[in-house]
C-alpha cells in the first residue's frame, strides 16, 4: 500500500517532466520548420552531437557533471524555501580555491584530491553562507544577496587572476594547471577516447546520493524541509529557523563550489576572467525539471548535457542555429514552471483509469455474486 502510493507520486512527477520535455522538443521542431530546416535532421544531429561516439558521450557526461552539481545546489536550497540564484558566484570562488590548490599544492594523488575537493567545497560554502547569514540576521532577501555575491566573485576574479595566476600568453585567463593536477585521469581519458570526461562525474554522483540521504533519512533533512514548507510551524515546534537557513545556504554553496571544481579543474584547466558561468543559471532549470529531487536532478542534468554538447554539432551539420537548443531548454522550463496544468491532466487520466479498473472489479464481483446465487 505504502509503496504503491509513493511510486504513484514519483511517476506523477516523472510524467510532468516528460510532458514538459516532449512539448519543449515539439516547440523546437516548430521553430526549425519555421526557419526552413527539417526538424528531423535537426534533432538527429543534435542528439548525434551529444551521443554518437564514446568521445562525445564523455563530453556530454562532463558537461552534465557541472549542471548536476549546480542543479543539486539549487534544488537543495529550494527544499528549505530558499532561492539560490548565486550558484555562479559560488562556482567561481570554489573554482578559484581549487585552481589555487592545483597550482601550489603537491601531494600524493589520493591525498591531493581530498585537499582539492575540500578547497572547492569550502570556497563555495563561504560564498553561500554569507547570504544565508544576512538572511538569518538581517532578513536580507537571499535573491538580492546572492546576485550581489555573484558580482563580487566576478570582479574579484577579474583582478585576482591577472595579478596572481596570470597565464604565459593571455592576460584574460589563468595559467593552465598540469593535467596531473586536474580531475582528468588517464584511464578515464583513454576509456572515453580523449574526451573531457573526468573524476568530477563521480563526485557529482556521490553528491546526489549524499544529498538524497540527508534529505530522506536524517534529522537535519527533516528540519530543513520543515523550515522550507512552513517556517511558522517549524518555529512553533522548536526548530531554529535561522540556523537552518544558514546551514542550507552553506551546503548549497558547497555543492556549487564542487560544480566550479568540476568545471575549472576538470572540464577546462584554467579560469577566464570576465565570464559569469552560465551553468549557475542553467542549474535552476535543471532543478526545476528535476522537481527539486536529487534523482530528478541526475536525469535532467544528463538530458540538458546532451542538448548543450550536441548543439554545436547540429549547427555544423545543418543550417539550424545553436540557439535552438537554448530555446528548447527555455520552453521546457516554461512548461515545467506551469507544471500544475500537467499534474491536473495526469491526475485526471490516472484517476479515470483507476475508476474504470474499480468499476470492472465491482461488476466482476457482482457477477460472481449473481452466479453464486
Amino acid at each position: 500500500m505504502k509503496h504503491v502510493k509513493i511510486r504513484e507520486k514519483q511517476s506523477n512527477a516523472f510524467l510532468v517532466a516528460v510532458s514538459a520535455v516532449v512539448l519543449g522538443l515539439v516547440a523546437g521542431a516548430i521553430l526549425m520548420a519555421s526557419i526552413g530546416s527539417n526538424p528531423f535532421t535537426g534533432f538527429w544531429f543534435l542528439f548525434r552531437g551529444g551521443l554518437m561516439n564514446i568521445e562525445r558521450v564523455g563530453n556530454t557526461m562532463a558537461t552534465a557533471t557541472t549542471l548536476m552539481l549546480v542543479g543539486l545546489s539549487v534544488a537543495f536550497a529550494f527544499k528549505t524555501g530558499l532561492f539560490n540564484i548565486g550558484a555562479s558566484g559560488q562556482m567561481l570562488i570554489g573554482g578559484l580555491c581549487a585552481t589555487l590548490v592545483a597550482h601550489y599544492v603537491f601531494l600524493p594523488r589520493p591525498l591531493y584530491l581530498i585537499v582539492l575537493i575540500l578547497a572547492a567545497l569550502l570556497g563555495g560554502a563561504l560564498w553561500g553562507v554569507i547570504p544565508g547569514f544576512l538572511k538569518a540576521k538581517f532578513n536580507v532577501h537571499e535573491v538580492v544577496a546572492t546576485i550581489m555575491m555573484n558580482w563580487i566573485a566576478y570582479w574579484s576574479i577579474y583582478y585576482f587572476i591577472p595579478a596572481y595566476l596570470k597565464g604565459p600568453s593571455l592576460e584574460t585567463e589563468s595559467a593552465s594547471i598540469a593535467v596531473t593536477q586536474s580531475l582528468r585521469t588517464p584511464w578515464l581519458t583513454k576509456l572515453f577516447n580523449g574526451s573531457y570526461m573526468n573524476l568530477g562525474f563521480f563526485i557529482a554522483i556521490i553528491s546526489v546520493i549524499v544529498i538524497k540521504l540527508i534529505l530522506d533519512k536524517t534529522t537535519l533533512g527533516f528540519s530543513l524541509k520543515a523550515v522550507g514548507s512552513n517556517r511558522h510551524c517549524a518555529e512553533y515546534a522548536g526548530i531554529k529557523v535561522n540556523r537552518n537557513v544558514v546551514i542550507s545556504m552553506m551546503i548549497a554553496g558547497g555543492l556549487a563550489g564542487l560544480a566550479g571544481l568540476s568545471f575549472y579543474t576538470g572540464y577546462s584547466r584554467n579560469m577566464q576572467i570576465g565570464v559569469m558561468p552560465a551553468q549557475g543559471f542553467d542549474g535552476i532549470a535543471v532543478a526545476l525539471l528535476g522537481a527539486s529531487s536529487p534523482l530528478g536532478v541526475l536525469f535532467s542534468s544528463l538530458f540538458f548535457g546532451i542538448l548543450q554538447s550536441g548543439k554545436g554539432f547540429m549547427n555544423a551539420m545543418t543550417s539550424v542555429p545553436p540557439e535552438i537548443a537554448d530555446t528548447i531548454i527555455a520552453v521546457i522550463i516554461y512548461f515545467t514552471a506551469t507544471s500544475v496544468l500537467f499534474k491536473r491532466f495526469w491526475d485526471a487520466v490516472l484517476k479515470r483509469q483507476g475508476d474504470k479498473a474499480k468499476k470492472k472489479e465491482e461488476s466482476a464481483q457482482a457477477e460472481v455474486k449473481k452466479e453464486g446465487e
Binding site: 534529522t219 537535519l220 520543515a226 512552513n230 510551524c233 512553533y236 522548536g238
Partner: protein
C-alpha cells in the same frame, strides 16, 4: 405560505463520495432557515449548487415557484440570491462604497455620490450602522461582514445565504448580527443560515433543516425543538453538552507568571504586569474578547515572542528567556490558535507532522538518522488513539485532512507527548459538536492525570464548561481570577468589558 426557494431531491456525487444524497430544502418567504450539519455533512455543497458553483447530478431547483437552472453565480444574483462568504471578498484599500459598487459601476463616469447615498439609506433601513466613506482596512471584522451584507442588498438580493457567519466575530458582534438578520426578515427578505452552532440557531432561526453525511434527516421547528434533540439528529447519537468532570485535585504550581510585560506587533504593551499561576490538576480558562492580549500572552509563555520584563517559571525552572525547544522539553504542549499557520506542515505527511517536535531525539532518531519504522508506528498510535481519519492513513498529507481531523491530529500530537502544561488556544474553533465533545473530554482527562491546562477561548460556554478557575483579560491586563463555581456569565462578561466587580463592592 409560499416557498421562496425549493431544492428538491438534490443529488451530487464527487469521485468516491456522495456529497448530497436526495436532499430537499424548502425555505419559506420571510423566515430565517438554518441548515445544520457537521463539517463535511454536505451543507456547503448544497449551497454551492444553489449559488451556481456546482451543478446537481439530479433534482430540481425552484425559486419563487418557478423551476430554474442556475449555471453560475451571475444567474444566482439575477434571481435575487446573494451569499456572504466565510472569507470576505473585499478590496482592502477601497472605501465601503467603492467595494459595494465594484462590478456594478454602471456607465462611464463613476457616480460615487448617489451610490453612497443609496448605501447610507440601506444601512439605516436595516440597522447596519456603516459609514459608506470608510476604508475597509480601517474597520472591524464585524463591520466588514456588514459591508458584505450591504453588497447583496445593493444588488437587490432578497434571499441571503450566510455561510458560517459567526466564525470570525466576537460575542457582541454575534449579537449585532443576529439583530441584523431579524431586521432583514422583518423587511421581507429571507435568510438561509449555514452553521453548526446550535445556540445561534436557537437564538435566531425559525426552522432548521438537518443533514448528516450527505443525507436529509429532517426539518424541525426551532422554537419547539430542544437543542439536544437537534444535536442528536445532527450527530446521529445523543450528545452531552455539559462536560462531565470531577472536582479538581489541585497540586503544586506548574506555571507561574510574575509581572509579565509583553510587546504586541504594534509596538505597544500587549500584556501589562500580568501575574498568574496554574497548578497541577486544574484547568485555568482565560476569558476575553479576541485581541485583548491573549495571543501575546500565549506566545510569551511558549517562547514565540520575547518578554519585555517579568518572569515565567515552569515547574520550578526559569524559562523567561529559554528557547522553544527547551520549553517543550521541560513540558509545554501547545495547541496553537492558527492550525494552518502554526500547527501543521500542510505539504507534509501525517507521520512527519506527528514527529515535528520530537524527531531529533531517541527513539525517533539515533545519531541524526531518523528511525522511519518508529516514526510510522508512533504516528499510527496517535492517529488511532485520536481517531484521525484520512484517505491514505499516516501517509496522507496534512493539508488533505478536514479541519476537524487536522485539529484532532494536533491535539493528539500534543497530548500523547503528555506535557506538564498544556496550553490550548481555541481548541475547538470551527469544529462540530461530536469533535468538540471529544476534545473537551480529552482536556479534562489531561487535567485528571495531574497536569496543568491553560485554556484560551473566545467562547464563554467553553470557558465555563471546562475551567476550574477563570482569568479575565481586558486590554492586556488581568482583570481578575475567579472560581468558576463562584461566578456567572454576566459577571465575567462585565469583567471582559474591563469592569472590576470586587472593587465596586469594597
Amino acid at each position: 405560505m409560499s416557498h421562496v426557494i425549493e431544492m428538491l431531491n438534490i443529488r451530487k456525487e464527487f469521485p468516491g463520495i456522495v456529497a448530497n444524497d436526495d436532499i430537499t430544502l424548502q425555505v419559506e418567504q420571510g423566515e430565517i432557515h438554518a441548515i445544520l450539519g457537521e463539517n463535511g455533512a454536505g451543507k456547503s455543497t448544497l449551497m454551492s449548487i444553489l449559488f451556481g458553483l456546482y451543478h446537481a447530478d439530479r433534482g430540481q431547483i425552484k425559486v419563487k415557484g418557478k423551476e430554474v437552472h442556475i449555471h453560475d453565480p451571475n444567474d444566482a444574483n439575477d434571481l435575487g440570491i446573494g451569499m456572504v462568504h466565510q472569507h470576505f471578498q473585499l478590496v482592502h484599500n477601497f472605501t465601503v462604497t467603492e467595494n459595494i459598487i465594484l462590478g456594478k459601476e454602471g456607465g462611464f463616469l463613476l457616480d460615487r455620490r448617489s451610490a453612497s447615498k443609496k448605501i447610507k439609506a440601506l444601512s439605516e433601513k436595516y440597522g447596519l450602522n456603516i459609514d459608506p466613506d470608510m476604508v475597509i482596512e480601517d474597520i472591524t471584522v464585524g463591520m466588514q461582514q456588514r459591508v458584505e451584507i450591504l453588497k447583496m442588498l445593493y444588488r437587490d438580493a432578497d434571499i441571503l445565504i450566510f455561510d458560517e457567519p459567526t466564525a470570525v466575530l466576537t460575542p457582541q458582534e454575534i449579537d449585532d448580527l443576529m439583530e441584523i438578520m431579524r431586521n432583514l426578515v422583518s423587511e421581507g427578505k429571507s435568510v438561509i443560515l449555514i452553521t453548526h452552532k446550535l445556540n445561534e440557531i436557537k437564538a435566531v432561526a425559525d426552522r432548521c433543516t438537518i443533514i448528516r453525511r450527505g443525507k436529509f434527516i429532517g426539518v424541525v421547528d426551532v422554537k419547539t425543538t430542544s437543542a439536544s434533540k437537534m444535536a442528536s439528529m445532527m450527530v446521529g447519537r445523543p450528545v452531552n453538552f455539559k462536560v462531565e468532570k470531577k472536582l479538581a485535585q489541585v497540586g503544586r504550581v506548574i506555571l507561574d507568571l510574575h509581572d509579565l510585560n509583553v510587546m504586541s506587533n504594534k509596538k505597544v504593551l500587549g500584556v501589562k504586569d500580568l501575574s498568574l499561576s496554574v497548578k497541577a490538576g486544574e484547568i485555568v480558562g482565560i476569558a476575553g474578547v479576541d485581541g485583548n492580549g491573549q495571543t501575546e500572552l500565549v506566545e510569551a509563555i511558549t517562547g514565540l515572542r520575547p518578554v519585555e520584563s517579568g518572569t515565567i517559571t515552569l515547574d520550578g525552572n526559569d524559562i523567561t528567556h529559554a528557547d522553544i525547544r527547551r520549553r517543550n522539553e521541560i513540558g509545554i504542549g501547545h495547541i496553537p490558535e492558527d492550525r494552518q499557520k502554526r500547527g501543521l506542515v500542510m505539504a507534509s505527511s501525517l507521520f512527519n507532522n506527528v514527529a515535528i517536535k520530537e524527531y531529533y531525539h531517541s527513539p525517533f532518531s539515533k545519531n541524526g538518522i531518523l528511525d522511519a519504522d518508529y516514526l510510522r508506528e508512533y504516528a499510527q498510535k496517535v492517529t488511532d488513539q485520536f481517531d484521525v481519519r484520512s484517505g491514505e492513513g499516516i501517509f496522507s498529507l496534512a493539508g488533505k485532512l478536514s479541519g476537524g481531523n487536522q485539529q484532532k491530529l494536533i491535539v493528539g500530537r500534543e497530548m500523547v507527548a503528555d506535557p506538564e502544561l498544556l496550553i490550548a488556544v481555541q481548541p475547538t474553533r470551527g469544529l462540530d459538536v461530536g469533535a468538540i465533545e471529544y476534545i473537551h473530554s480529552q482536556l479534562v482527562a489531561h487535567r485528571d492525570k495531574g497536569h496543568a491546562v491553560l485554556l484560551v477561548s473566545f467562547e464563554l460556554d467553553e470557558i465555563f464548561n471546562l475551567s476550574d478557575r477563570i482569568a479575565v483579560m481586558n486590554s492586556g491586563e488581568l482583570i481578575d481570577v475567579v472560581k468558576t463555581s463562584e461566578t456567572n456569565e454576566e459577571e465575567v462578561g462585565l469583567m471582559m468589558a474591563g469592569v472590576k466587580q470586587k472593587d465596586g463592592e469594597q
